[in-house]
């Protein structure tokens, strides 16, 4: 394809194995690039993927880069740094008495990443080595209490001695974590002043100091410490890598700022981003893309389902709002920072199936063969039958291979593995065994979807479901069968949907701030006014911070959208609900009542009416704010409908296994399908990077944007 249209947005999603690149032109054309990730020098893999997309558009590099308005980037750099324990050498100053915090891991970090079976099998639990070794931790005499009052003054000589000591040991940054510092940060701030002064006196003023009240100002000392330590451990190298990448792009002709995807879903300029905020950006693109398509089609409530090699990731866009998980886990470390709420279970193309030795029952997952050794049919060393092997045996995947034949598939090996390891022990035919693997994995995905919707207090018939990821179109008919959804949608670019999604993100920042508001059950106007004032003051501070930050990034006040949030819970509850506030300030008692009413309405919807508990009163220990500004987005080309006849895309018929028998099955080239075409199941629709498996009772309708609507007969 040679384009005459200027490329405007480019987004690269740097995964553990591959870097995907998605480019959109002014006229709405898409181009994809893919290249192996180069962890030692992210720019190299990034530029290779970019080149592939550029070549697909038939453009020269300078012409290509000069044309781009936005280059976005999402990476697992921080994750890799934490996983491999390759990073900086921070020292830690912590409230005296809590020096063992990182070694203790709250206990939970020794099992939080394990499977259901391993969690109740303690001999396989393990502590992880801490990011800061214990003898680089110093206790500082100081204490603030749970109301934010100082009860032990900061002992400044402790700080001075500790800094000198740590510098002698060779630290390259200093982290400060004090209890309750998110309520009153004066001890941490004073500590920073002393640290910087000491460092200056020691001639090492380049050593940075990170405060927990600045990096992660939220309740819970371990997640707050983890976030701050990760920023110190992985941040400097991550930010240096981003600088190098931006400079490479600029040298090639790009004139804008490199934008980085954040875990909470928005883009931010690489120069202004905090590494920890980018740590979990991987699954975010899919959700952002889902919301964007919702806007395109006019749907406010959507389910994103991403079927990859190892996991099935589900997220919800409800009434245009993407849920936020405030307690995510990164590489086994508990964090306290906003991340788009994505629910993952171990189910994907690489999921392994086996027969349980004790009961003789069929077990599918959660273990995965991953990309190495991979499914048996890849011929890369895998010996255990996987979901992909079952898809191949049943005739759904093209035996000539994936990626237009670049990845060959060994059908015989897949058949043999399923025959010996599944079919014979169960006394089933080869095909029924393979079909069984699919049914079990589809059932798990289905219950995950329906469970999440009910967990969030919603009804399936309010939602449109989007299926993507390399294996999404292959299983979407299975996991949505007979679900009363408003619609089911998938795409020819399903395998690169996350990169597409990220390219549609806005500029966004999330801010949180602790408050200490307890509202009694029968609060009068006076009590509400006092509480409301505190909340308003916190919102005001956050707004100032947001406006200042966005100004640095080039946005004036008018272009910034502000959404205030209150984290509300019933008295003494331990979990709060992020409640979008109906008012921007609580100036009257009724303003706060309206915030509480919004919480009550949300609570009844998310849980159940019977779970409401207003007689406990309310607590608001944190408020938040989202500041967003619009970014140039890919245009979607609307094409005229060309009739329902899809025969021009039909290229062959091969047998596939449906409902207990082999039947001739038409196979279509996805790129040849035209708007308006309808394909009746059973059928298989192939794209280079994905395959849509249309079961006998389903149909596929291509719409004006080349998206595919899956119907139920």
């Amino acid at each position: 394809m040679v384009t005459h249209s200027r490329p405007v947005v480019c987004y690269s999603d740097v995964g553990g194995t591959f870097t995907d690149c998605f480019v959109v032109t002014e006229s709405g054309e898409f181009a994809l690039g893919k290249s192996p990730t180069t962890p030692e020098d992210i720019a190299s893999g990034f530029m290779s993927a970019l080149d592939m997309a550029r070549e697909a558009l038939g453009l020269e590099q300078r012409e290509f880069l000069e044309g781009l308005e936005v280059v976005g980037y999402g990476a697992t750099t921080v994750l890799n740094s934490v996983l491999t324990r390759k990073g900086g050498k921070p020292g830690l100053l912590i409230t005296r008495g809590f020096e063992d915090l990182l070694l203790m891991e709250r206990g939970k970090q020794s099992w939080v990443q394990l499977t259901r079976i391993d969690r109740i099998h303690p001999v396989v639990h393990r502590h992880q080595p801490p990011l800061i070794q214990r003898n680089w931790v110093r206790g500082i005499s100081e204490r603030v209490d749970s109301l934010g009052n100082e009860i032990i003054p900061l002992r400044e000589e402790d700080v001075r001695e500790s800094v000198r000591d740590l510098v002698k040991l060779g630290v390259d940054s200093i982290v400060v974590v004090y209890l309750w510092s998110f309520l009153d940060d004066s001890h941490e701030q004073r500590t920073k002043e002393i640290v910087l002064k000491e460092l200056d006196a020691l001639g090492v003023s380049e050593i940075p100091c990170f405060l927990s009240s600045e990096v992660s100002p939220t309740l819970r000392e371990l997640p707050r410490a983890n976030g701050t330590v990760i920023e110190a451990f992985s941040g400097p190298s991550t930010l240096r890598a981003l600088e190098r990448l931006e400079s490479d792009l600029k040298a090639g002709g790009f004139t804008g700022d490199l934008q980085v995807m954040q875990s909470a879903g928005g883009l931010a300029p690489a120069r202004h981003v905090r590494a920890i905020d980018t740590a979990m950006s991987g699954p975010v693109g899919g959700l952002v893309g889902t919301r964007t398509l919702g806007e395109l089609y006019g749907f406010e409530s959507l389910i994103s389902t991403d079927v990859g090699g190892t996991s099935f990731d589900v997220g919800l866009v409800s009434n245009g709002f993407i849920g936020i998980d405030r307690e995510p886990v990164l590489a086994g470390l508990l964090l306290s920072l906003p991340m788009m709420d994505v629910h993952s279970v171990g189910a994907g193309g690489g999921t392994i199936s086996r027969i349980d030795e004790l009961s003789g029952r069929l077990v599918v997952g959660p273990e995965s063969a991953g990309s190495r050794p991979g499914p048996v049919c890849y011929g890369t060393g895998g010996t255990e039958p996987t979901v992909t092997d079952a898809d191949l045996v049943l005739g759904y995947l093209n035996p000539r291979g994936l990626l237009n034949g670049k990845v060959s598939l060994d059908v015989l090996a897949a058949r043999e593995a399923i025959r010996i390891k599944i079919a014979e022990p169960l006394g089933l035919s080869l095909e029924d065994a393979a079909d069984g693997i699919r049914r079990v994995i589809d059932a798990r995905m289905r219950e995950t979807v329906t469970g999440l919707v009910s967990l969030r207090g919603s009804r399936l018939d309010d939602y449109v479901l989007l299926a993507f990821g390399g294996a999404g179109p292959g299983h979407v008919c299975g996991y949505t069968e007979n679900l009363p959804l408003k619609g089911v949608l998938t795409f020819p670019y399903a395998a690169a949907f996350s990169a597409f999604g990220a390219s549609t993100a806005d500029y966004e920042h999330h801010y949180n701030r602790a408050v200490n508001v307890v509202v009694s059950p029968n609060a009068d106007d006076e009590e509400l006014l006092v509480a409301g004032k505190r909340i308003s003051a916190a919102w005001e501070r956050l707004e100032e911070q947001a406006i200042e930050q966005m100004a640095l990034e080039g946005f004036d006040r008018e272009s910034v959208m502000i959404k205030p949030l209150a984290m509300v819970r019933y008295g003494r509850q331990l979990n709060d609900l992020i409640t979008p506030s109906p008012v921007v300030r609580c100036r009257t008692a009724d303003d706060l009542r309206s915030v509480i009413a919004a919480f009550e309405e949300l609570y009844a919807r998310v849980f159940a009416k019977g779970a409401q508990f207003p007689q406990a009163g309310y607590e608001i220990f944190e408020v938040g704010l989202v500041a967003a500004a619009r970014k140039v987005k890919p245009g979607f080309v609307r094409r005229p409908l060309e009739g329902d006849d899809a025969s021009a895309a039909l290229y062959e018929s091969r047998p596939a296994y449906w409902n207990g028998e082999w039947s001739p099955t038409p196979r279509y080239r996805w790129e040849a399908l035209r708007p308006g075409n309808i394909v009746q199941g059973p059928a298989v629709i192939e794209a280079p990077t994905t395959t849509l498996v249309l079961t006998p009772n389903r149909s596929a309708t291509i719409d004006e944007y080349l998206s595919v609507w899956i119907g139920q007969q």
Binding site: G97, F98, E99, D100, L103, M104, E105, R106, G107, K108, S110, W111, R116, D118, I120, H121, P122, V123, H125, H127, R134, N135, G139, D145, S146, L147, I151, P153, W180, L219, R220, E221, D356, E357, L358, S359, R361, V363, G427, D435, G436, R439, A443, R444, E447, L452, S454, L455, Y570, G571, R572, Q573, L574, N575, F607, A608, G610, A611, F613, A616
Partner: protein, 714 residues
């Protein structure tokens, strides 16, 4: 003509008779054999549903023990009350909710109360089901075409029950009436709505009702989610299929349980014992939990606890439902973790617990709060399983004893001016046992809940107003060994200014309660230090660094040296709650794990790591491990190889010198038994056990070759 519906009681009797007569729960697994895929798909959907419900309930709960420590479980039961499928969570309650449902059926609730859809029955009477009044279950029946087809149950552990002491788990209780509100299988909701008067009852009956009431809502919501989903599934597959697969899931697990035992454990008879005790006013007695495990060649497990002490007016004992729960919890963690555990696991095991013993009391007016020998019984059983694994060659599953549960309780008025009563559940992250290949994890495990989580101190300080001055890994707490036991937590609390509170603790008598294995040492014993009339306020004002550690000298902790106070030390950890004035200090420890193997075989590199991390002292390294630790000018820790070899050789020579041949040892000890030369708490135990169990008494006399009718001296 319409057939009269059979009562639930008749159905239960029939089901139990079938099992008793045939030894199987369901004779034919026709669905599993004819359609193994559908069999699995349905189970997958049920399991995911229970898991989802648990997630929701966790978000609603107000109990730190539920939200932070995951003390919550949901289950699906047959109409007769047998558990079909369970979520993750508190494995102790795999069977205890089943017991409560059966109790209602056997006690004619069906005719006297009537069961209707939307009804919810609450129970925290641990003689009926559950572990102690803190364990609170909510059960709801569901119906198809007017017939009760099954039950859903949810259980959480709440931290306040309105007991004599705040925090529900006081060590001073001498009767059930001290344990707070105990409500046996009461209907507390109809049409899925909780009764207002029940909220009022709880609100006026306990110090702080929020966690109890919010947890009720959490369980109700979880049950509701499961009920709707199960009914949807039932609509898809039909009633006959649903009933059949439920019975098959239980039978399938029963068979798999036998198979797991047959493959994993070496057949034979294994005996172990664990120790507990009572230290309350006017009663000081050692208690033992002897466990005999018999593994048959066919994979049948039989457990006998003949020789348990008698039940008495003290809280260190348990009901039979709890003891069953503890045992199955231990067996699931140690052997059956990879099964689809349900009541099939329970049916696969023969259990003998003497009636009238401290794990099966014959008087429901006795307190059963703190479990005592039931916890020991689980530890002894786990040790026996470890030896059976070892004999079979599965070294990777072999481990020493897990930590003793301990903790602290408090009540009063909190910093927000609200009444509170709670227990601090940070002990859920105690020290783990050492295994045959690695050290036990520090602060990460408890036997009663494998998913150990101590919770953040900031969360606890919101719930209980004490201020942590230190929260550290206990030094040298884990049992010494080639692989050391995991260390528990040491916490030092300060009572803040302006707070009225009473505080206490529970644990065990001052004995080694956690055994080592294969030459490993037991874990350290527990203790509480209380400092009244301290100079802490003056020290704060003077800017002196406050204490932050227990230090390495167990006899006088560093904080005792650093703070002038009227100090008292309670060995063991049983301290009834009492008021403490502001700036008082209260130091508690959680349990540590037992060690594995000879400490002289421990790799010096592991000792260096512990010294570097501040977890072990130089004195212990030399005296116990025979390792001479060195430090260079930069503070780097190492060891002197030559001096170490020499010291280890010296330790071995001293051992030989101290050693006594087994026959000689037995002769000396027999003389002591004959002469009554045994500490008083142990004499009291032996006299009690020999009285309650003639079988055990005969065996004791035979082993020591004592005269017929011999009795231990008073």
């Amino acid at each position: 003509m319409t057939m009269a519906r059979r009562s639930l009681k008749d159905r239960l009797i029939e089901s139990e008779e079938l099992f008793r007569d045939t030894g199987v729960y369901e004779s034919e697994l026709t669905v599993k054999e004819s359609d193994p895929v559908t069999f699995e798909v349905l189970f997958t959907r049920l399991l995911q549903t229970l898991t989802n419900a648990r997630e929701v309930a966790l978000s609603i709960s107000a109990s730190p023990s539920t939200r932070e420590q995951g003390e919550i479980i949901f289950g699906l039961f047959t109409a007769e009350g047998d558990a079909v499928c369970l979520s993750t969570g508190l494995m102790i309650h795999v069977h205890t909710m089943s017991r409560a449902i059966k109790w209602m059926i056997n006690n004619d609730y069906e005719t006297k109360m009537g069961f209707r859809e939307g009804d919810y029955f609450f129970n925290n009477d641990s003689f009926i089901g559950g572990g102690h009044p803190s364990d609170q279950m909510l059960m709801t029946p569901f119906f198809v075409d007017g017939e009760l087809e099954g039950w859903i149950g949810g259980l959480t552990h709440v931290t306040e029950t309105g007991a004599v002491e705040p925090g529900a788990m006081g060590s001073s209780f001498t009767s059930r009436f001290a344990e707070g509100l105990i409500l046996p299988c009461m209907r507390i909701a109809a049409d899925d709505e909780l009764f207002y008067d029940f909220d009022v009852l709880v609100d006026r009956g306990v110090r702080s009702s929020i966690s109890w009431l919010a947890d009720n809502r959490a369980k109700l919501t979880g049950n509701l989610i499961i009920r709707e989903k199960v009914k949807e599934l039932l609509g898809e597959v039909g009633l006959d299929m649903y009933r059949k697969v439920c019975r098959e899931y239980i039978e399938d697990t029963r068979r798999a349980t036998h198979e797991k035992v047959r493959r994993s454990l070496f057949p034979g008879r294994y005996r172990e014992v664990a120790w507990r005790g009572v230290t309350i006013k006017n009663l000081e007695r050692l208690m033992h939990s002897p466990c005999e495990l018999v593994v048959s060649r066919e994979g049948r497990l039989s457990l006998s606890f003949e020789g348990l002490p008698s039940a008495q007016r003290q809280p260190f004992q348990a009901t039979l439902p709890l003891f069953e729960g503890m045992l199955f919890n231990g067996l699931i963690q140690n052997i059956f973790y990879d099964l689809r555990y349900n009541d099939g696991t329970f049916l696969a095991i023969d259990l003998h617990v003497p009636y009238g013993s401290a794990c099966n009391p014959d008087n429901i007016q006795l307190p059963t709060t703190l479990w005592g020998p039931a916890y020991g019984g689980m530890q002894a059983c786990a040790q026996a399983v470890s030896r059976a694994y070892f004999a079979k060659g599965y070294r990777e599953e072999v481990h020493a004893s897990g930590p003793l549960t301990s903790g602290n309780l408090a009540g009063g008025k909190d910093q927000y001016g609200r009444h509170f009563g709670s227990q601090c559940f940070e002990f859920a992250s105690s020290g783990m046992y050492a295994t045959s290949f690695m050290d036990g994890l520090d602060t990460a495990f408890s036997d009663f809940n494998a998913e150990g989580d101590m919770g953040d101190a900031e969360i606890w300080e919101q719930q209980m107003p004490q201020v942590w001055l230190a929260r550290e890994i206990r030094k040298d707490g884990g049992g010494f060994g080639k692989f050391r036991g995991g260390n528990g937590i040491h916490s030092l609390y300060m009572i803040p200014e302006g707070i009225e509170m009473e505080i206490g603790a529970f644990g065990s008598p001052p004995i080694f309660s956690t055994a080592g294995l294969m030459g490993g040492y037991p874990a350290a014993a527990l203790r509480v230090w209380i400092g009244r009339g301290t100079d802490v306020q003056a020290q704060i004002e003077a800017g002196t660094p406050l204490p932050n550690t227990e230090g390495f000298d167990r006899s006088v902790p560093e904080f005792v040296d650093q703070v002038s106070a009227e100090w008292s030390c309670v060995l063991g950890q049983n301290v009834p709650t009492s008021s403490l004035e502001p700036y008082s200090l209260f130091s508690v420890v959680s349990g540590d794990g037992g060690g594995y193997g000879d400490p002289l075989l421990r790799a010096p590199i592991d000792i260096i790591r512990d010294v570097e991390n501040g977890l072990s002292g130089v004195r212990v390294a030399a005296d116990v491990y025979g390792v001479v630790v060195t430090k260079d000018a930069r503070g780097n820790v190492g060891y002197d190889k030559e001096a170490t070899d020499s010291l280890r050789a010296q330790h071995r020579r001293e051992r030989l010198h101290r050693g006594v041949p087994a026959a000689e040892y037995k002769r000396i000890q027999r003389e002591r038994v004959m002469a009554g030369d045994i500490p008083a708490p142990a004499r009291a135990m032996y006299r009690d056990v020999m009285e309650i169990s003639p079988i055990w008494a005969d065996e004791f006399r035979t082993f020591w070759n004592l005269p017929e009718g011999f009795e231990v001296a008073e």
